[in-house]
Symmetry: C2
Subunit: 144 residues, 2 copies
DNA sequence: TATCATTTTGAGACAGTTTATCAATTTCAA
DNA sequence: TTGAAATTGATAAACTGTCTCAAAATGATA
């Protein structure tokens, strides 16, 4: 398997080392698959990896994705009843525009909004570490 | 029962009328209880209303809160594994500044951010219905 | 490279939250 | 008042995610 994600693998190894955790075949497999996505659910990843390893358990996917969150490689977000794991490395940061009709998700970035967020935070004595902005509505196709 | 929420009751009746739905004792009861809250889970409301009506079913609470969402009186938000129903009437919109150190939550409003959100949405052909903005970081006291 | 304490895995049981089912009841227009 | 249509309550079922535990894999050490 091509290891095209050297930097992230490095970060994972570092996290594993710091916490007496081990690098397994499954963790490598899941990391490589995960890094090819922008965001994905555990269930979707389960089905996607079924070809590569039919015996890979769903619980392992959940455990590993949560591990990635701890390691700072992923970020969990709750959309409706599901949890999506965002690939943090893929893009620095992106916010979401979510269609409540067809569930379509459009990503966007807006520096002006980010700047204003910093301003609000500063005014309240906060130092922002991360944020989450989701706009819910109808896309042009669902408006009818 | 005191009907101190005339405007919202009106809005509910309007929605019911438009969709061939009926006004029931339970819907009135749940509406009045809901409007006294800022945000609440279905489970919490279930326990809270158990005194007023011990036979009120949990399914009815869920159904009714979802009805309120359709009617524009409530807004569902997913926090972890739970869904909280926000009272839309209570305050217009408010976003959250959340301290990851002490869990303190500061509410804020920023019209400029809201305006930019509309702009982003329009650029992508979306019509925003609601949004959710949460800034995570450390408050001044926790920064040390 | 063999050993072996420790971690991880897979499979399914389990738990918490929300929705579906359906007979009995309630609403409301006529 | 009547009756078609909607609603309710009770519970089963669905769904997402976590826990359990015996078996397997890892990796530090000899």
């Amino acid at each position: 398997m091509a290891n095209t994600h050297v930097k992230e693998m490095q970060a994972l190894k570092e996290h594993l080392g710091k916490h007496q955790l081990k690098l397994t075949r499954q963790r490598e497999l899941i990391l490589n698959a995960f890094l090819r996505q922008e965001h994905i659910t555990a269930e979707a990843m389960y089905h996607q990896l079924a070809k590569a390893d039919p015996h890979l358990g769903l619980a392992t996917i959940y455990r590993t994705l949560n591990l990635f969150c701890d390691a700072g490689l992923a970020q969990a977000r709750h959309f409706g009843s599901q949890t999506k794991y965002d690939n943090v490395a893929h893009k620095g940061h992106h916010d979401h525009l979510i269609c409540t009709g067809c569930e379509k998700i459009v990503e966007f970035e807006n520096e002006e909004i980010e700047r204003l967020q910093e301003e609000v935070a500063a005014r309240n004595g906060f130092t922002i570490k991360t944020h989450r902005l989701e706009l819910y509505g109808l896309c042009s196709r669902c408006r009818h």
